[in-house]
Amino acid sequence: MSEPIVRIEGLTKRFGEVPAVAGVDLEIARGELFALLGGSGCGKTTLLRMIAGFETPDTGRVIIDGQDMTGVPPHKRPVNMMFQSYALFPHLDVAGNIAYGLKREGVARAEIAQRVAEVLSLVKLDGLGSRRPAQLSGGQRQRVALARALVKRPKLLLLDEPLAALDRKLREGTRFEMVRLQERLGLTFVIVTHDQEEAMSMATRLAVMNAGRIAQTGPPHELYERPASRFVADFIGIANILQTGARRWLALRPEKIVLTSARPATAHVATGQVIDIAYEGDRSLYRVAIENGPVMLVAAMNVARAHGSAHRRGDTVWLGWSDDAGQVLDE
């Protein structure tokens, strides 16, 4: 990592008595697609708005591209934001919306027209420049919002729940498109999302936030396979959290466990009864009540084209996992 594009130091913001962001330190490298992931009210949007300049932090500093931007108003920051509601100007057409930021910079008329046309083709909206936002579909509006932020060529693009308003099918396609766009343009994206699937599949690195603090930062596989705390293990994906001692737990992912009718030859085994089955097509999720123990979740792929799941409710089954299958936690 060379000089980070964003460095956040000890950032705190309170709304009344409630701390929305409580002492966040964070570095985001150039060219990263960084995701801030957390449930509602975890402070991720407030953190994003402090980077954009819409909220003033109570304490701490925001350094963008080596310059302290803590007290700088939004219109003087080298940062652009894509709003969750898109915030398209209803009284301007698509081209007018996109040109808005360039006009504020005093870019020449001919260059504005050229750059608007370029960015419209980049987001595959060629020829729609004269439409009003009200005449566009949800997916098209999302692209206009993206184009309007991209046309300014910001050092840093902030995206507040960029895909939340799209329907499921469109969301999956748009996800890949946005990643491709980010890689092609070599920009730094910071995405705020509550959708862990979205964060995991798009981000090069992500931070999980909880109650105004960052619980863990790292690449997606690290957060999934090596969670630092029970909160992260539980928040990202599904985990069986088994207490193995005083302040010692084992986080075990359902797919790391083998499920058999006969006793398996793994380092650790347990036996119990299937009490619930969730058939999801490609795989089934079993809830197994361990004898004198907790209820554990086990995932098994439905490899054979059988009738539903391989085991039935009430079956006695064996669970097995290896020594390094789970993550040992102490918080």
Binding site: A52, G53, F54, P73, P74, H75, V79, N80, M81, F83, S85, A87, L88, F89, P90, H91, Y100, G101, R104, E105, P133, A134, R148, A149, K152
Partner: protein, 269 residues
């Protein structure tokens, strides 16, 4: 079911008749041949022609229109400022007092306002030697109450204004002032136009306050009508009433269309 519908329809018809039959009569009688207002003697446009040759009446009408234009424009500017402060500045010293003072003229008896303004203008005349009572004082008087209506329209529109639009503008590099001019103001335009039309209509037919603050020389249209009616109703009054109704109705329709259009626009988003 049918009986009920018929009952509802009858009630509706009576209600409308109660409200609009007098106006319909006035319009009909403006085309009356007879000199007597209550006797129908055949169709004629002679009172229309007479009115358009009535110098005093035309002068009064012209004065009223000028006052209407000036006071509506002034109250739109001031009402915008007041409405903006009320909607956007959450806390300042005397906010509650300010909010009640803005709307007070809507409920204050006009006689009270008239007397107080008259005292003000008499006082300033003695102390400062002006302003002379007439166009200027009437305009100021009308602004005091029509400002409240504009302020309320603006405040209501700003209350459901999507503020992320302004944030987006600032994010794209607009200063707060540019944001106001390029985003807030254009989106407030329908509210401002309907506020202006409202202020214009209120000014055009105000009689009570105007009588207090008008000088001996200036006579607005309502004053002229009122004084001529005291000498006996002339059919020209019917013609005038017809014209005023037509203007008021078109202002009302224009304001409704503008409001509807901006509501549609927002709904379409």
């Amino acid at each position: 079911m049918i009986g009920r519908a018929r009952f509802a329809f009858t009630v509706l018809a009576f209600g409308y008749a109660f409200l609009y039959l007098p106006i319909a009569l006035v319009i009909t009688y403006s085309f009356n041949e007879s000199r007597l207002v209550t006797v129908w003697a055949g169709l004629s446009t002679k009172w229309w022609i007479a009115l358009f040759h009535n110098e005093a009446m035309l002068d009064a009408a012209w004065l009223s229109v000028r006052i209407g234009l000036a006071s509506a424009t002034l109250s739109t500017v001031l009402g915008l400022a007041a409405g903006y402060a009320l909607a956007r500045v959450p806390r300042f010293v005397g906010r509650t007092l300010f909010a009640s003072l803005v709307v007070a003229p809507m409920v204050m008896p006009e006689v009270v306002m008239g007397i107080s303004m008259l005292l003000l203008f008499v006082g300033s005349d003695q102390l400062l030697g002006g302003p002379a009572r007439g166009f200027l004082t009437i305009t100021i008087g009308h602004v005091t109450f029509s400002l409240a209506f504009v302020a309320i329209v603006v405040q209501a529109r700003l209350a459901d204004f999507d503020r992320t639009l302004e944030e987006a503008a600032m994010d794209l590099g607009a200063t707060p002032w540019t944001t106001f001019l390029t985003v807030t103001l254009p989106l407030l335009t329908p509210a401002l136009v309907s506020g202006w039309l409202l202020a214009f209509t209120l000014s055009l037919d105000d009689l009570i306050l105007t009588q207090f603050v008008a000088g001996a020389q200036s006579q607005t249209l309502p004053m002229r009508v009122y004084s001529s009616v005291r000498l006996g109703v002339d059919p020209q009054i019917n013609v005038l009433a017809t014209i005023v109704v037509a203007i008021a109705a078109s202002a009302l329709i224009a304001s409704a269309v503008l409001t509807r259009r901006s509501v549609d626009k927002r709904a379409a988003q």
